[in-house]
Symmetry: C2
Subunit: 413 residues, 2 copies
């Protein structure tokens, strides 16, 4: 796309009302807009990044048998009362409102209840199991404070997958596959090296849940990492008893600040029992379905990527999530030879379906480079006098600063 | 995908709590789930249809220069107060709630206000105009009654595009392009022949708005159609004066029930003035931006397609929006020759990337055909004894009932 057509503008100054690095940079670069505290819109470049993250997660969820659906924001009070999660005394972050037609409703904080009810209409026999269903849907959480930018919003996008299995063994087999799929997601979005499977508190039906914690000074959690085994323990459960169970030595652990990038959770029959989700087994006996839940927030993940990879010059996107792979920067003016050379390269790249943002604006080189650094597109192709003279283009890697010379044919090929 | 893996089941009986044909059929076929009155989840087959509709609209909006973004559900009371659309006396279908951190908020009924505010940060000069921005985002409307299935929900998906232009002439040029793009959308989703540009009431800044009305007995509107000119007039504005202005003769008009499938609206400076969206023109004078809004509800469109095209046997999807293009129905049992032939054909179709749902379940032929008719996939490939014997497969067109014989190579080719 031509940058002269892109409606968003960048800003030199960080917004004064943002303390989180991710929000400061994303607002400055025109990727997001803050509507209110903890409530952000995604502008064209930001939506492209978000959609790339969503697509990576979708591919990994499909690969382990996930079926995509989409549920609603508005929730049925009666349903949530049956699992005792409606009362504000029990769950303190609902947004609640009411229907003009009568009755209260709330905005989904999560979706175990509605999906379990849907499954009661589709699961009745062991032949119908297992089922894995997921969605990308907004969650709403009425947080008192919101100071982590898009990493903790009052309205945010969540991928939530739920598993429905016959028994603990079938559940466990999928749970292990989901863990692997999650690590592939973190690796593909560029934060695999900094992300650890982390044991955390489990709940009624399992001793531990597993978090995926990404090491960062911006993190709200403290974890203890065994680098050799590449696993960690959340501070909240890091007792001698836990370490003994996990076969970890306290001496081998390093304390770090970290951000939770995802989690997987065994739910047992916590929801299937009160909501009547059962099946007939091979012997004709009625049994409750065993469930698990698996969450990753794509908007939070986008914030984490910024926290981990951005530098003093601005955003730095890995190729897999970048809004464009190439930033073609023309230093020409008013239809001169440089502009013509850049136009021709843009046309050829676009025709090949190569993902490119073309800075075709008539601005000073310094201004263009500073803005290009802020936008964080992985590869910058510079078209100046040299390129016209030699036929070779300077290609600068945003992350490493490495410079390579490449001819038109190689770029387009 | 293998139907044995699809978690949704179909039902023989229509749900007793639905009066609309679209909701009855979509619930029976397992495409949607009713959470509450006017609030529907989209199950895997339904989401596939919805995504196809979304993609068609996206392509047409991009083709006329639209830039995609996504705004939020939670809305800023202060912003909407400035345009006098917050007060329940003025707008009667808000869902309102409040932040724990203090202050009221509401769920977006539409998005003129937040997008206009976003644009004040990106538009300042005539050089920044025009801008066309759109999103696919849920709207929430606190309707007293909901009896039209997914055609009128309390929570529903909307594509809303907004145009920002220098003056009326620039606005009008885009408005005309948007009308053409809308007609291409209706044509591509299979309801072009039944859909008419319809003049309706305009508001303060333009005499008329234009609706896109699809003729259907399920419609809530009454329109008067001039078949020769392929335009219509909404009953609410169908006066002698209007007809004279539009050059229409009352004698040539036919009265029909119709459903509003979209609308385009000139907004003038209704929002840019109170929200301070202005630009400096070539002479340095400060002027208000001229706006337009352009809406299509993909969920409503899905409902309309069902109302128009479904028959007594079930759903009928046009190829462009169908969840799958082929329904491969095997009449084999337990690994017999028929099953093997069907398996081989499925593998080849899937490898070619051809969109196919494979009914690999061990059920009676009559049951499978009835369910196939209900699902409404455009082309049914039947694999029975004949196919094994002759090497030719019967391909049945769901809409017309036409039967064709095709060899494996031609289907896969």
């Amino acid at each position: 796309m031509r940058q002269s057509k892109l409606f968003t503008k960048t800003r030199r100054e960080a917004p004064s009302d943002e303390v989180a690095k991710n929000a400061q940079l994303l607002v400055r670069a025109g990727y997001i807009h803050k509507e209110m505290s903890g409530v952000y819109s995604y502008l064209p470049l930001g939506l492209r990044v978000l959609n790339n993250i969503v697509q990576i997660i979708r591919e990994e969820m499909n690969a382990i048998g996930g079926q995509e659906l989409i549920m609603t924001a508005l929730q049925d009070k009666e349903l949530w009362s049956r699992t005792d999660r409606w009362d504000d005394e029990k769950v303190d972050n609902w947004f609640k409102t009411s229907f003009k037609s009568g009755g209260e409703t709330g905005l989904a904080i999560t979706h175990e209840e509605p999906l379990t009810r849907i499954m009661t209409e589709h699961i009745s026999s062991y032949r119908d199991l297992p089922v894995y269903a997921y969605q990308f849907q907004n969650k709403f959480r009425n947080e008192l404070r919101a100071k982590s930018g898009i990493m903790r919003g009052k309205e945010f996008l969540m991928k939530d997958l739920y598993s429905f299995s016959k028994d603990e063994a079938e559940h466990k087999a999928f749970y292990d596959k989901a863990r692997e799929a999650y690590m592939r997601v973190f690796s593909r979005v560029g934060i695999g090296a900094q992300t650890y499977v982390t044991f955390a508190s489990g709940g009624i039906f399992s001793e531990f849940s597993e978090e995926f914690q990404t090491v960062s000074e911006a993190g709200e959690d403290t974890i203890y990492i065994d680098e050799g085994k590449r696993i960690a323990v959340n501070k909240e459960v890091c007792t001698d008893e836990t370490l003994a169970k996990l076969g970890l030595e306290r001496n081998n652990l390093v304390e770090k600040k970290a951000i939770e990038a995802g989690n997987i959770f065994s739910l047992g029959t916590r929801f299937s029992e009160p909501l009547g989700l059962s099946y007939k087994d091979e012997a004709g006996a009625e049994k409750s379905v065993v469930m698990g839940s698996y969450g990753i927030g794509p908007t939070r993940l986008m914030g984490i990527i910024v926290e981990i990879l951005a530098d003093e010059k601005g955003l730095v996107w890995p190729e897999g999530v970048a809004p464009f792979v190439y930033h073609l920067v023309s230093l020409g003016h008013d239809g001169d030879e440089i502009s013509k050379t850049a136009d021709a390269l843009y046309t050829d790249l676009a025709q090949k379906g190569i993902s490119v943002l073309y800075d075709d604006r008539d601005l000073r080189a310094g201004e263009k480079f500073a803005e290009s650094d802020l936008l964080g597109i992985p590869h910058r192709i510079v078209v100046g006098k040299d390129a016209v003279a030699t036929g070779e283009f300077e290609v600068v890697n945003r992350a490493t600063g490495a410079v390579e010379k490449m001819p038109h044919a190689k770029l387009v090929g």
